[in-house]
């Protein structure tokens, strides 16, 4: 997204502070409060002992009188949570790398080799991006079962690319398009092969695009739910989202402390990654919509 390269400053300086407070800061503050409150509530519940959690008369529910780690230790040592975390990492990393590899090749071929029919293939891949997992999971379950992949990490590693590849390819096509043809022509004259051009010229120049696609793909696979819920049945093979809501609820007994601890600790890795790459993440998100 090209930001406007304009030296004008607007007429903001004409506005007094109290007026701007009412017009901008107050509504902005309220919306941010609405957006952040669930996270605050998640964190407060995680570190609150059970006695306080269910007693709103004696303790103020918004504060913690005696912070405790009991829910987190219970989650890490009494459940399969560490295994779910491990599965989630393995599945997200592998499916992201598979998708990036396939997408870089495909996007380069569509944008730069321009073989016969490449435009139509590009369009078909964009349409693939619009097919939602909720209409694919039933037939996919049948296929996964036939291939003998049911209840294993491989079932997820191979199916996640179905929503990652269309997205990454579409995003990378946009990035490759911005690289001048002349650079490739120079390399061709110097005797470079197509593969050398891709790895030594196109990829380094579109590195921000590759990082954006990778970060976004990683968070998408970390967050995926419906395939993981359908294709995995035993507790030790589950991912965090699935494990949290299927294994931490015993009948009508909800272990809110452990549930909130799982929600919090399952979100933290993505949030840390996101905080390092905010700009890349945003450009992936807006880029995919804009193209």
């Amino acid at each position: 997204m090209t930001t406007v390269d304009d030296q004008s400053v607007g007429m903001d300086y004409l506005e007094s502070f109290p007026r701007k407070f009412l017009r901008v800061y107050l509504p902005l503050g309220l919306i941010i409060f609405f957006l952040l409150f669930p996270f605050y509530w998640m964190a407060v519940t995680t570190f609150k002992p059970d006695a306080e959690m269910y007693d709103y008369e004696k303790y103020n529910p918004f504060l913690i009188a005696h912070p405790t780690l009991e829910h987190i230790t219970k989650l890490f040592f009494d459940t399969d949570y560490p295994l779910w975390m491990w599965n989630t990492v393995i599945v997200s990393v592998s499916s992201t790398f598979i998708s990036l590899f396939a997408s870089v090749c495909a996007a380069y071929a569509i944008e730069r080799l321009r073989y016969k029919g490449s435009r139509y293939v590009g369009l078909a891949i964009f349409l693939g991006y619009l097919v939602p997992p909720s209409i694919l999971f039933i037939p996919l379950a049948a296929i996964v079962f036939q291939l003998g992949l049911f209840d294993g990490n491989l079932a997820l590693i191979l199916t996640y690319p179905t929503f990652l590849i269309p997205f990454c390819t579409w995003l990378l096509m946009g990035y490759f398009r911005t690289i001048p043809y002349e650079l490739e022509e120079c390399a061709l004259i110097d005797g470079a092969t197509r593969l050398q051009i891709l790895t030594k010229i196109t990829l380094p120049l579109s590195l921000p695009g590759v990082i954006s696609a990778g970060i976004f793909a990683f968070t998408l696979s970390w967050n995926e739910f419906i395939y993981a819920l359908t294709f995995i049945s035993s507790s030790e093979n589950k991912t965090i989202p699935v494990g949290a809501i299927t294994e931490l609820v015993n009948g009508d007994v909800y272990h809110w402390g452990a549930l909130m601890a799982a929600a919090l600790t399952g979100s933290v890795p993505v949030v840390i990654l996101y905080s390092f790459f905010v700009e890349y993440y945003v450009s992936a998100m807006t880029g995919a919509v804009k193209e």
Binding site: P27, G128, A142
Partner: protein, 315 residues
Amino acid sequence: MAVIAEPVAADVKRGSLWSRAFESRHFLGAMFMVPAIAILILFLAYPLALGFWLGMTDTKIGGVGRYIGFANFVSLSKDSVFWLSVFNTIFYTVFASIVKFAIGLYLALLLNERLPFKSMVRAIVLLPFVVPTVLSAIAFWWIYDSQFSIISWVLIKAGLLTHYIDFLGDPWNARWSVVLANIWRGVPFVAITLLAGLQTISPSLYEAANLDGATNLQRFRHITLPMLSPIIAVVMTFSVLMTFTDFQLIYTITRGGPINATHLMATLSFQRAITGGNLGEGAAISNAMIPFLVAAILLSFFGLQRSRWQQGGRD
């Protein structure tokens, strides 16, 4: 240097069919497409086709189905739970999308103002979209608890209520509760993408309008909205698509209850196909979603066309 030059020279001398094929961009292009196309055909195109077929069979989990034509659709058309789920899906999509658009556009306009710590505020706003939906939905589930809901507690303390709200036990309360959770998750996406659109509008347009004596409302109506409309079309299509096919929020917060009052078509198809074992019937419910999706995609297509036209390209 000589080491690098050698293989090239050898290639030229050999000049075999194989090396010439690698210089053809059509052949090379096809080779480059193999990994992506293989995965997409096996796990996207084939399942899509298989889904149409399954919807016309009486397949059960672990068994082979018979072709039964449109019998699944006929029985669904007499199934009141199915029609309830269609109603819920449309209700959920319409209300959540309208509010997401309104708050999202408002938030985008606020974020486009001159703000201190602007990039940090933007990063924080996007958090609900980044965090795994299921995990934040668990937090909403706890917020909506019938005995320990923090919302009820605050309202009672403020003297606005006398007893706790039964958020998820009453059909209409449950519907509005899941809509609210969906709005919470969707607003950041709408706001940040619209903000990216707003940032491409030149401030000089607003200055010119100011000099001509335009009011705030007029500037919004005659500059912001027309300049933003192509991206609004695309963002809202995506948003509608995601909301219409939503599964995670409902499955986590209500599992379709109370008495199917919040079942969406996606959660109902999961319940029939995976929990109940009737793959054929579940696939038929999924297939019933496709006409709506095609409508949304067409909308997106025409939105893109319009944006090209507005940028001065061909129609």
